[in-house]
């Protein structure tokens, strides 16, 4: 169990995380939030890339700053991830396994298993430079799995991936999640919807809401309306235009509003719930 208690993080005068407290049990957590919300900062604090006050982050009751073996429990895929392009896939993973302190005959087996989990077995002896962007990303997941860590932290793992790769990523998450705590930060809501048990919405360094994705979706229930663009003047109070599309030759707006509106309701999506949470609707 990974707990964060009253975590504050500042860079100069700018406060990036404000009194953040949350508990991560077994399961898949999606960290949603706009750019600058503090998602990456939180992940870097959890991985000790940034120093944190003693006790602010604990693993099973032990402060991560005091736990020499803490990083053994962590598998991390950073936002900007790359590899030594001159090496082969196996060599690269072997190097990372060595850096993780893995040793002995089980290393080879572990590498092959991790590569198999991300469906890159046939590229095990290919040069890294021959891999596509999506394959490199999957390789990133494979290196995070090395050593069978209990906690996986993926920072924007699907950024820049095509839909097929993103689908593959979701399958991988489904495969690796048993018995693990998986944290995925993203601003692509659909990735969270498919993979995550719990969605944590961050904004300006604070947790806006945290709970099952269904609960977040229901937050937008009764607040979502379809409004013809030509009738938009009839909207009352505060509202947010969530989407715009064409239907039956008319431009339709999908609007989120905390106030009742005299327009037909639309089915709320997780994204709608996310926007409602951010805007406090």
């Amino acid at each position: 169990m990974l707990t964060v208690q009253g975590l504050n993080k500042r860079f100069g005068r700018k406060t990036v995380l404000r009194d953040l407290s949350i508990r991560f049990d077994e399961g898949v957590y999606g960290l949603l939030g706009p750019n600058g919300a503090g998602k990456t900062t939180l992940m870097r604090c959890l991985t000790r890339l940034y120093p944190v006050p003693a006790g602010a982050v604990q693993l099973n009751g032990v402060s991560v700053q005091d736990d020499r073996d803490y990083l053994r429990h962590i598998g991390y895929l950073p936002q900007k991830f790359g590899l030594f392009r001159e090496l082969r896939v196996y060599e690269m993973l072997e190097m990372l396994a060595n850096l993780k302190g893995m040793r002995g005959p089980g290393v080879r087996e572990n590498i092959e298993r991790c590569v198999a989990q991300v469906n890159l077995s046939e590229h095990l002896h290919s040069k890294v430079r021959t891999l596509s962007g999506g394959m490199v990303r999957r390789l990133g997941i494979a290196q995070a799995l090395l050593g069978d860590p209990e906690i996986l932290i993926f920072d924007e793992p699907t950024a820049g991936l095509d839909p097929e790769e993103r689908l593959r990523f979701k399958r991988v998450i489904a495969e690796v999640r048993p018995g693990r705590t998986v944290l995925i930060s993203t601003h692509i809501v659909s990735d969270v919807e498919a993979s995550c048990d719990t969605v944590v919405v961050l904004d300006a360094g604070r947790i806006v809401t945290s709970g099952p994705s269904e609960a977040l979706r229901r937050r937008a229930a009764g607040k979502t309306y379809l409004v013809p663009q030509t009738d938009a003047a009839g909207l009352q109070g505060d509202y947010v235009v969530q989407d715009q599309f064409e239907a039956d030759g008319r431009i339709m707006l999908k609007v989120l509003s905390g106030q009742p509106q005299a327009f037909p309701a639309a089915e709320a999506t997780l994204e709608d719930g996310y926007i409602c949470a951010l805007r406090g609707l």
Binding site: R48, L71, R72, P78, L83, M95, L99
Partner: protein, 638 residues
């Protein structure tokens, strides 16, 4: 770690830039040394230091190479966006960068072994049998190739770990330039144009061997003195700090301990560097080396004043460590003077003067003058001076001693001008009469002295000037004459050459003066008349044996008479040249109205007749009491 090393080597080899540049540089390195090795003994002027002389310029190239290779290699994890991943592992950064460092260190060792190997071969081929010389050569390779390259490795890694690309390249290029000859030119320009002295900064920043533009000093080799070693250690420790700090970011205790150790090393080595210590002029920038005395004496007042007494004997205890420390007792023949005036080179700071009873006396040291007030007892039989210091040209340090008897490294009675600014060399200062001297030198190496030896580095005898030499020197007896010479200078001092030159000189000598010992001084800026001197004890101290006859003849002519001597020699030995000079002066006279020296001599010859005129010139040159300068004499002759 073994597995990590294997992977790091594989990474190094697979990045085409690294092995390509390493291979090319290694080939070039090997080529330079091989080219010298196959032509051994090579340039004769370089003597037995030819191979070392070919090796040392590679020091800067090694530094540049290792700095950029190290930077490129250490920047790869960041450049390839692998750094964050590596940091979130248990052993990440220490193993990653540790293995890189070890690989580069191994390369450094490889280059060093190649250089050491070639130099060892040269020692064998040139039959350098002396352990001290071999150790010196290998020590130079260790300092200027291995340690300087190691500094480059650490600098490159430090830049990669702490700075962005632009800043890193800027810092690397700047540091290389600051230690390069370009920086020396800038320092010289700043000094001579604006009188801003940045030479100490340059000397501290420049890790590379100096004095490579001139012939090596065979008697001391290249500098392995504490200042060079401490400067290098300082930069090594300083560059190591950010490397250790960044790579041990997860191990706070180890990080703090490592940083503390490096900081202590930095402070310690800086403290050593700042200690007053002697250095060879060739290892200094010109400003603090050969030009040091010229700069000083151009503006310093030099006095000439009779002290009213004579020194009748010296008892000297000298210690040579970082610099010369001396305790010299001078017996004086006038016990009741109110003040005793002495001359001592200003680079030696006197800390105490006592009388024969050990009573401290008041003294004033100003420039080269030292005035000692007579004590309350009113009687002074002897004065004991305690002092320490150095001179860049006439040095005394761990690698060697070069203290000729004509240099005021011990007090002389009266005030005397020490330096000839016009000719940029020291005057010869000797005691008026030979005096008894006993001398003990605390020094690790063998000291050679013109006085007879009475024990290890202990000497006693009678002379008008005490010469001390030490370093890569040896002593041999040739034709009954003891010769002390730098054995690494095989251009001049191969046994057969030495015997030929010495015997040739002795055969040409017709003045009947006895020469029982010849001591070869290391090269220094000396005017022709000062390049040899025959001391009262029969020791001839000179810079070389070749052409010694000419210098010997000149050495008995006072400086102000040298011009007349040259003119006479030209008239007698090279009449065509004399005629050319005369014609030139006559042409110049028509425009300037100035009478040249050759014109004066010609006029004297025409007036007095050649035989009479030349005889008068000979008499003038030989007459020590006649202190007129050459022009004054020739004008009077007409």
């Amino acid at each position: 770690m073994r597995r990590q090393m294997s992977l790091t080597i594989r990474l190094f080899c697979k990045d085409w830039v690294l092995p390509a540049f390493t291979g090319l540089f290694f080939l070039y390195f090997h080529y330079v040394l091989f080219d010298e090795a196959r032509t051994l003994p090579g340039d004769r002027l370089l003597g037995d230091l030819a191979m070392l002389r070919a090796t040392l310029p590679l020091s800067m190239l090694c530094f540049v190479f290792f700095t950029f290779v190290s930077y490129y290699f250490a920047d790869k994890p960041r450049h390839d966006a692998l750094l964050e991943c590596a940091r979130v592992t248990r052993h990440g950064l220490p193993r990653l960068y540790g293995s890189q460092f070890l690989l580069l260190l191994a390369l450094d060792l490889l280059f060093t072994l190649v250089a050491a190997g070639y130099n060892a071969y040269a020692c064998f081929a040139l039959q350098i049998g002396r352990a001290e010389a071999v150790l010196h050569i290998l020590g130079c390779v260790l300092l200027y190739i291995f340690l300087v390259s190691l500094a480059g490795i650490l600098l490159g890694m430090a830049a990669a770990l702490t700075l962005n690309r632009f800043a890193a390249c800027l810092v690397l290029v700047l540091f290389i330039l600051l230690g390069s000859p370009l920086a020396l030119y800038v320092a010289q320009a700043l000094y001579y144009a604006l009188w801003i002295d940045v030479f100490p900064v340059y000397e501290f920043l420049c890790l590379f061997p100096r004095g490579l533009e001139s012939l090596p000093q065979h008697s001391v080799g290249y500098s392995l003195l504490p200042d060079r070693i401490s400067a290098t250690v300082f930069w090594l420790a300083l560059f190591a700090v950010p490397v250790l700090w960044k790579t041990l970011c997860d191990r706070r205790r180890a990080r703090r301990a490592a940083a503390l150790a490096c900081a202590v090393l930095c402070v310690g080595s800086l403290a050593v560097y700042l200690l007053p210590m002697a250095r060879t002029a060739s290892d200094r920038s010109a400003r603090s080396g050969y030009v040091w005395d010229l700069d000083y004496y151009q503006f310093a007042e030099q006095k000439e004043e009779d002290g009213g007494f004579s020194v009748t004997g010296y008892d000297m205890d000298l210690t040579v460590g970082l610099q010369l420390s001396a305790r010299v007792t001078a017996q004086v023949d006038q016990p009741a003077l109110p003040c005793y005036k002495f001359t001592l080179y200003h680079g030696y700071q006197v800390s105490q003067v006592t009388d024969q009873d050990g009573t401290p006396l008041r003294f004033t040291q100003q420039g080269d003058t030292l005035a000692v007030e007579n004590g309350a007892a009113g009687r002074v039989d002897s004065l004991t001076f305690t002092y320490a210091g150095d001179n860049p040209t006439y040095y005394a340090h761990a690698q060697g001693i070069n203290l000729p008897g004509h240099f005021a490294y011990y007090p002389h009675s009266g005030y005397h001008a020490l330096y000839d600014v016009e000719n940029q060399s020291f005057y010869k200062l000797l005691t008026e009469q030979p005096v008894d001297v006993t001398l003990r030198v605390q020094y690790g190496k063998t000291v050679f002295c013109d006085l007879p030896q009475t024990g290890r580095n202990t000497f006693a005898g009678r002379t008008d000037g005490v010469t001390l030499l030490a370093g890569f020197l040896t002593e041999e007896t040739v034709n009954g004459v003891q010769v002390v010479y730098p054995y690494l200078d095989t251009e001049q001092f191969r046994p057969e050459q030495l015997a030929a030159d010495l015997n040739g000189f002795l055969a040409s000598k017709t003045d009947g003066r006895e020469i029982r010992k010849v001591m070869i001084l290391p090269g220094a800026q000396m005017e022709l008349h000062a390049r040899c001197h025959l001391y009262s004890d029969g020791t001839l101290v000179c810079m070389q044996l070749r052409g010694l006859a000419s210098y010997y003849e000149r050495s008995f002519i006072a400086p102000q008479k040298q011009e007349a001597f040259n003119l006479l020699k030209t008239y007698r030995d090279d009449p065509e040249n004399f005629e050319n000079r005369l014609a030139a002066e006559q042409t110049a006279y028509q425009s300037t109205g100035e009478t040249g020296m050759a014109m004066l001599l010609q006029a004297a010859v025409e007036t007095l007749g050649e035989e009479e005129a030349l005889a008068r010139v000979d008499a003038y040159l030989a007459d020590a009491a006649d202190r007129r300068d050459s022009r004054e004499f020739l004008e009077g002759l007409c």
